[in-house]
């Protein structure tokens, strides 16, 4: 399963970003192998429409789950259309790998 997570850096040790559309990086993590792809977020500097643009990226990367702090209305509508599970409320003091591990632990 592919999990997308908003991050402040390009590694699994980076801290989670609480912002969705304006985070620095998206990490697309394969939950079986824990291999990941880091995508820097072009939307960080965008004047408007950063959320929907980020949603499009997550959808195109084929993620099934999104872990983040908060998703805005417009992005949420797009993500739900693609049946992506949104897990929000993550705090920025958490490391990316810990956030993923705790999600996987809760799930199983």
């Amino acid at each position: 399963m592919k999990i997308a997570i908003t991050s402040s850096g390009g590694s699994m040790d980076a801290l989670v970003s609480e912002q969705f559309g304006r985070c620095q990086y998206f990490l697309i993590v394969d939950s079986e192998t824990m291999k990941f792809e880091a995508v820097s977020n072009l939307g960080e500097q965008m004047q408007s429409g950063a959320g929907p643009k980020a949603a499009e990226l997550i959808i195109n990367k084929g993620a099934e789950v999104l872990l983040t702090g908060h998703v805005g209305d417009k992005a949420e509508a797009a993500l739900k259309k693609s049946d992506i599970i949104i897990v929000d409320g993550l705090k920025g003091n958490l490391k990316v790998k810990d956030a993923i591990n705790s999600y996987l632990a809760k799930k199983s």
């Binding site: 429409g49 929907p52 643009k53 499009e56 509508a77 693609s82």
Partner: protein, 288 residues
């Protein structure tokens, strides 16, 4: 002649100045372009006789032709379209109706549909002999520019047109003041008034619109505003004193008595001053 009334800061008295100017100039045309909360009608008491809906264009996708190539989402400057692979998802609030998606769709699968986003009201103020127009944006709509554009279609070239602009220095203010012969910037004697005035001045300089300043709620002790205006040589058209009676009348939906009596001549003179300033500006631009 088109005179717009703008400000950086909200609540400095744009509508007060605009409605007063209109009322001392019978036969003028009043255009309330502050379409998010138009309130010129509260002071000018027009009788409305027509309401015309304003629409904006949105893309409509013909799925029998769409191949989900994603070109439309790619070219959308405002990220209003998202290619979900099985659907092209439109976020209506972000769409500016520019038509780029329709123009560039290789399958010609996109057509325009229109959506009502507000109304333009037409009326007449018998009391002041003023033609009155205003725009009202529907609650929840994000883009007000099309409504402002529709209000401005009512401009009548050979009359005095007074445009009440939205506050701030964003797209809406630009849309309202664009093509004016002159802009009156209403400010107040406060650091906030000065700060936002400077932003508004920057906009007008870029748009190359001549302007002057009206200082409302004038306070002699606050010298920074006037020091700045002197320094950059900006014309002060009028100073309106801080007077509780003005606020009281205004709050009761009345044109302030002080404006119609003590300050009446000064208001009438504003238009004369503007005519002179526009003429000077015209000479300067033709010489350079």
């Amino acid at each position: 002649m088109i005179i717009s009334i703008a400000s950086g800061k909200g609540g400095t008295g744009k509508t007060t100045v605009a409605t007063s100017l209109a009322s001392v100039n019978p036969g003028s045309v009043y255009l309330d372009c502050d379409v998010e909360e138009p309130n010129g009608h509260i002071l000018l008491h027009p009788q409305f006789h027509v309401e015309v809906p304003t629409t904006k264009s949105l893309p409509e996708i013909d799925y029998s032709k769409c191949t989900y190539c994603g070109k439309c989402a790619q070219v959308c400057e405002f990220h209003a379209l998202i290619n979900l692979g099985s659907e092209i998802f439109l976020i209506e609030e972000l769409c500016h109706g520019c038509g780029a998606c329709e123009y560039l769709c290789p399958e010609k699968a996109i057509t325009e549909k229109s959506k009502t986003i507000g109304i333009v009201r037409e009326g007449f103020s018998v009391l002041n002999n003023i033609e009155f127009y205003d725009g009202v944006l529907n609650i929840g709509e994000a883009s007000a520019s099309p409504v402002i554009k529709d209000v401005k279609k009512k401009i009548q070239e050979n009359k005095l047109n007074i445009i009440d602009s939205p506050p701030g220095t964003s797209c809406l203010m630009v849309e309202a003041v664009r093509d004016s012969d002159f802009c009156i910037l209403v400010t107040e004697s406060s650091p906030f008034g000065l700060h936002d005035l400077r932003l508004a001045i920057e906009v007008l300089q870029i748009l190359k619109i001549p302007f002057g300043v009206v200082i409302n709620k004038y306070e002699k002790l606050y010298t920074e505003l006037e020091n700045y205006l002197n320094e950059v040589k900006i014309n002060v058209l009028m100073k309106i004193p801080f007077d509780k009676r003005i606020a009281e009348d205004y709050s009761n939906g009345k044109m302030p008595d002080v404006f119609l009596t003590v300050l009446n001549e000064e208001f009438k003179n504003i238009i004369k001053k503007i005519h002179a300033l526009v003429a000077v500006d015209h000479i300067n631009t033709t010489l350079h």
